[in-house]
Amino acid sequence: MSEASDILNRLLSSEVKGDLLVLFHKNPGIIDTIDGVARRIGRTGNSIGNDVKDLVDLGVLERKQVGKHEAIFLDRKRDGEVQKIIGNYLNSMKKKEG
């Protein structure tokens, strides 16, 4: 499986990830705790923990220790790269189908 389809599968693997991606893309200035981010999509910190971890592993989100709290924010550079990889992949799929 190519890197692009792997990324795409992981991004689309849960509804929470979709909500998080939409939230951070619309609001790239968010830097918040897991609980704070969860509140902004109407969920709880516990229910989004695994999805946040997955997005951090993908490099789309970044973690930073701020005192005793952990802050999460969008890694704009890596996010741009991921979007480019997915875009290229989708374009190549279209060409294949065409």
Partner: protein, 284 residues
């Protein structure tokens, strides 16, 4: 001594402030919901960028940036473009992260290094109440204000006053107003059955300022400050009434006198002795 002012770019408000806010001051912008706090605060930052070359940071706790970008666009302010130009940052966070005390750097340190702002807005300081016990609130607010001052920022701290209208007015109930260098009040007033908006400067440490309440409107270009409510009194109590002229006062007295007839004769005699004749000739 000549003092450096940070102009809001709203000319009539700057006149009220004696030229603008004092540089490095933390000013409380208090008002109830819908009075225009966010609009005025954004305009302060946008004018900073467009008119005075000052970069600015807007920190929001509750309202999502997406909504702020959209609302700003309605006034013709393209905040995303200003961010791309490294003149503006919109940070959305939680008070507990902003107030983190366990060492390490503040979440504001990065953006401050990146764009070197002169202005900053916190929307709103009253949100700290949700995360900090009341007895700690003043201490935490003080720490935050001192951080902003140390960084040389001229800050506007928004405060949501639950008191919309009425005669038991207080800006904050936890003593935050004592920490702020200045207080700008936005207040709805009901006059002749219509809701109008008033702006006033309650405090400006180390500077003279306009003591009058002025009317303001939120136009398509932002806040526009207009004339004072000079014909009215009692605006702060929530029961404004038109001021009576001396002629009107005498008419009212005469009407009352006509009703009281003889009983009032002695009182009228004393009243006429009391009012200087010159004043009567001048105004009647």
């Amino acid at each position: 001594m000549w003092m450096v002012r940070v102009r809001t770019g709203i000319s009539d408000l700057d006149k009220m402030l004696g030229g603008g806010f004092m540089e490095g001051d933390a000013v409380l912008l208090a008002g109830s919901a819908g009075t225009g706090k966010t609009t005025l605060a954004l305009q302060y930052l946008v004018n900073g960028v467009t008119q005075f070359g000052d970069a600015g940071i807007y920190v929001t706790f509750e309202q999502l940036p997406d909504q702020i970008y959209r609302d700003a666009k309605n006034f013709g302010w393209d905040l995303r473009k200003m961010e791309e130009q490294n003149k503006f940052r919109l940070i959305c966070t939680s008070p507990e992260l902003l107030l983190e005390t366990d060492g390490g750097e503040s979440i504001l340190d990065g953006p401050i290094k990146e764009i070197r702002p002169r202005r900053l807005v916190i929307d709103s300081l009253s949100h700290l109440e949700m995360f900090v016990p009341e007895r700690e609130l003043r201490k935490e607010a003080y720490r935050l204000i001192m951080y902003l001052k140390t960084k040389g920022l001229s800050s506007l701290l928004l405060w949501e006053s639950p008191q919309i209208i009425g005669n038991s007015f207080s800006v904050t109930e936890v003593g935050i107003s004592f920490l702020a260098d200045g207080i700008v009040l936005l207040r709805p007033v009901e006059i002749e059955s219509s809701m109008r908006k008033a702006i006033g400067i309650l405090k400006l440490r180390g500077s003279d300022h306009d003591k009058q309440l002025r009317e303001f409107e939120i136009t398509t270009q932002g806040i526009k400050v207009e004339a004072s409510f000079s014909e009215y009194e009692g605006l702060m109590t929530g029961s404004p009434r038109k001021k009576a002229t001396l002629g009107e006062a005498i008419d009212q007295f005469s009407a009352a006198f006509a009703r009281k007839e003889k009983k009032s004769c002695k009182f009228l005699y004393r009243f006429l002795q009391y009012i200087p004749c010159r004043l009567l000739y001048k105004n009647c």
